[in-house]
């Protein structure tokens, strides 16, 4: 890591009674990263986040946000942090504007700054026409959007979000994914706990995987795919498959194996490269007529499942 990490979690252990919810978790998140925190239900994702916010006291280990321990010094540690909880609930007697104003006050923002921020954030999350309505009248998706606006009220350097796009429509989901990427480009650190692997693969630069309270992977997203990938496969559908074509393909240096079934070929590659051009050339050489040609790379889902399997 080039610079000092923004979030440092060291040997974090947390018990609920006799149950070990976190087992010596360690990871670090750098400035400008979008860190995806993955794990199945009950793996310890929310416990990790609540410990990072100082809501839970670790039994062992330590958390530091911008070098400050939030349990010991919440005022300093949380000043530049924004947090959007999973399925947020808010005081329904507030309007959206009042809730944002209250949060602005919690961060000590001046009246004029709060006024401007409220308008700006309501526009950003698409609630500009709902600002003066009581939160009790909001839909789940709208509460989720307001929660994201609240997390941004102090213009945080670190944004921690627990399942941020749950309950949102596809348009809003896409909008917020773009927003997270934009924030990261502005040098802000975004920490996202999610079970939406597609979301993590699209926007995250780094990934942490947790299972049964243990860290099973921590690193750049490219590395997770690399580490847990066993093979890339090209699937071809042809008008007709011939034996000479199959044996020619098998002789290629970068081909591990070729399997055929009726007019379909499954070509397993030795290298993790997109070799569709080379494969199609070879098929054309043997007068083959291609109907379709697809490359099957390992997805984050494959990697995730393998990582979890390995971690058990």
């Amino acid at each position: 890591m080039a610079s000092q990490p923004v979030i440092t979690v060291s040997s974090l252990t947390k018990y609920y009674g006799d149950f070990k919810a976190l087992d010596s978790i360690s990871f670090a998140v750098g400035k400008g990263w979008v860190y995806g925190y993955l794990g199945p239900n009950g793996a310890g994702k929310t416990t990790t986040i609540r410990t990072m916010l100082g809501l839970l006291k670790p039994d062992q280990g330590e958390v530091q946000i911008t070098g400050i321990n939030p349990t010991e010094n919440p005022v300093q540690a949380l000043q530049s942090l924004g947090y959007a909880p999973e399925l947020p609930t808010m005081q329904t007697f507030f309007t959206g504007e009042q809730m944002l104003d209250f949060m602005g006050k919690m961060f000590g923002l001046a009246t004029q700054v709060r006024k401007e921020k409220i308008k700006q954030l309501l526009d950003l999350v698409g609630l500009e026409e709902w600002g003066d309505k009581k939160i009790g009248k909001y839909s789940k998706g709208m509460v989720q959007r307001l929660s994201l606006a609240l997390a941004l009220v102090n213009d945080p350097m670190v944004l921690i979000m627990d399942e941020p796009t749950i309950g949102m429509d596809p348009e809003a989901t896409a909008h917020f994914r773009n927003l997270f990427t934009t924030l990261s480009k502005q040098g802000k650190t975004v920490f996202i706990s999610s079970h939406l692997l597609d979301e993590v693969q699209r926007i995250c630069t780094h990934v942490g995987m947790i299972n049964r309270g243990r860290m099973v992977f921590d690193g750049p997203i490219t590395q997770v795919l690399e580490t847990f990938t066993q093979q890339w496969v090209i699937e071809a559908e042809l008008k007709k498959v011939t034996k000479t074509m199959i044996s020619a393909l098998k002789k290629l240096d970068y081909v591990q194996n070729v399997k055929s079934e009726e007019n379909k070929l499954r070509i397993e590659l030795k290298e993790k490269k997109d070799l569709r051009g080379e494969i199609s050339s070879e098929i054309f050489k043997h007068k083959g007529v291609l109907l379709s040609l697809n490359l099957h790379r390992v997805t984050l889902e494959d990697a995730y499942l393998r990582a979890l399997k390995g971690g058990q």
Partner: protein, 291 residues
């Protein structure tokens, strides 16, 4: 932002949170209704005094009514004190901490730059401020009714004293409900426990006083003095007795008692309850949403 400003933000929040509750508003209206009812009863007694009683009793009653009339503002202010104002205090504080855990809003509030002590202080002071506001309203309403219908009223210079005494004595059940709210982190349990302690204390106190009356054994009275409801009910009355300092006034002389002990007991109970709440909050994790 300094600590005081952060506490002030939570006070404002707590104020709004409590005022948004219909149950609380209903209870305050009930307190006003009790005051109006007391006014109506005394108004009836003054205009239609009971007759046909044995002569000494009739004389005593007439004398008491005559002495009470210029001090009706005190009756109006103190009448809801024993029962209703304690319930208002319990209603204010019983959900103060627990509702935040139940709704999951404690996570949102405590993940902001604020210490747990500042948060708790803001919550407690917010409730206290609200109680002081309701007490001020009942004091005003009682005094206005008395001045408007039973003029002239005497000793009105003691309004601030009585107001502060009522507020101070109600700290006991405000703090008790606040402590239960933080310790149990369940609003229903906190409210039921606080109301349970309050009613049990009143009942035991009444029984002990009754036994004392029958047996003349002072031990029963001494024991009842240690119950929380005793100091809550008696502190403002004792103060009133001290302030009026007129033994000829019947109910003022009845209200004479150990003011210092009652005051000290309010302070001790309040301190203990607040300290328990602080220890619970500071030493334990923030409970996850439960509703």
């Amino acid at each position: 932002m300094n600590a005081l400003r952060r506490v002030a933000v939570i006070i404002g929040y707590e104020w709004r949170r409590a005022l948004a509750k219909k149950k609380f508003i209903a209870l305050v209206i009930l307190v006003f209704a009790v005051q109006i009812m007391i006014f109506a009863i005394f108004n009836y007694l003054f205009t239609n005094p009971p007759t046909g009683l044995p002569t000494p009793l009739q004389e005593q009653l007439e004398q008491a009514l005559e002495q009470t009339r210029p001090l009706m503002w005190i009756v109006e202010v103190l009448a809801p004190q024993g029962l209703f104002m304690s319930l208002v205090a319990i209603m204010i504080a019983g959900g103060s901490m627990s509702e935040e855990y139940e709704h999951g809003t404690a996570d949102i509030l405590l993940s902001k730059p604020i210490t747990k002590i500042e948060y708790l202080t803001g919550k407690y002071l917010g409730g206290l401020l609200l109680l002081s506001f309701v007490t001020a309203l009942t004091t005003m309403l009682g005094t206005i009714l008395a001045v408007a219908f039973f003029s002239p009223q005497e000793h009105l210079q003691f309004i601030p004293h009585i107001y502060l005494a009522v507020l101070y004595s109600n700290l006991v059940f405000l703090s008790l409900a606040f402590m239960f709210s933080e310790v149990f982190r369940r609003t229903t349990l906190a409210l039921l426990s606080a109301i349970g302690v309050f009613i049990a204390s009143m009942m035991i106190s009444g029984i002990l006083s009754g036994v004392h009356g029958l047996t003349g054994e002072s031990l029963y009275l001494e024991v009842s003095k240690w119950l929380p409801s005793w100091s809550v009910s008696n502190f403002p009355s004792f103060l009133m007795g001290e302030l009026l300092n007129e033994p000829s006034i019947m109910f003022a002389s009845l209200a004479r008692g150990d003011l210092l002990f009652a005051g000290a007991l309010v302070a001790v109970y309040t301190t203990v309850f607040i300290v328990v709440a602080i220890v619970r909050l500071v030493r334990s994790d923030v409970t996850k949403r439960t509703d």
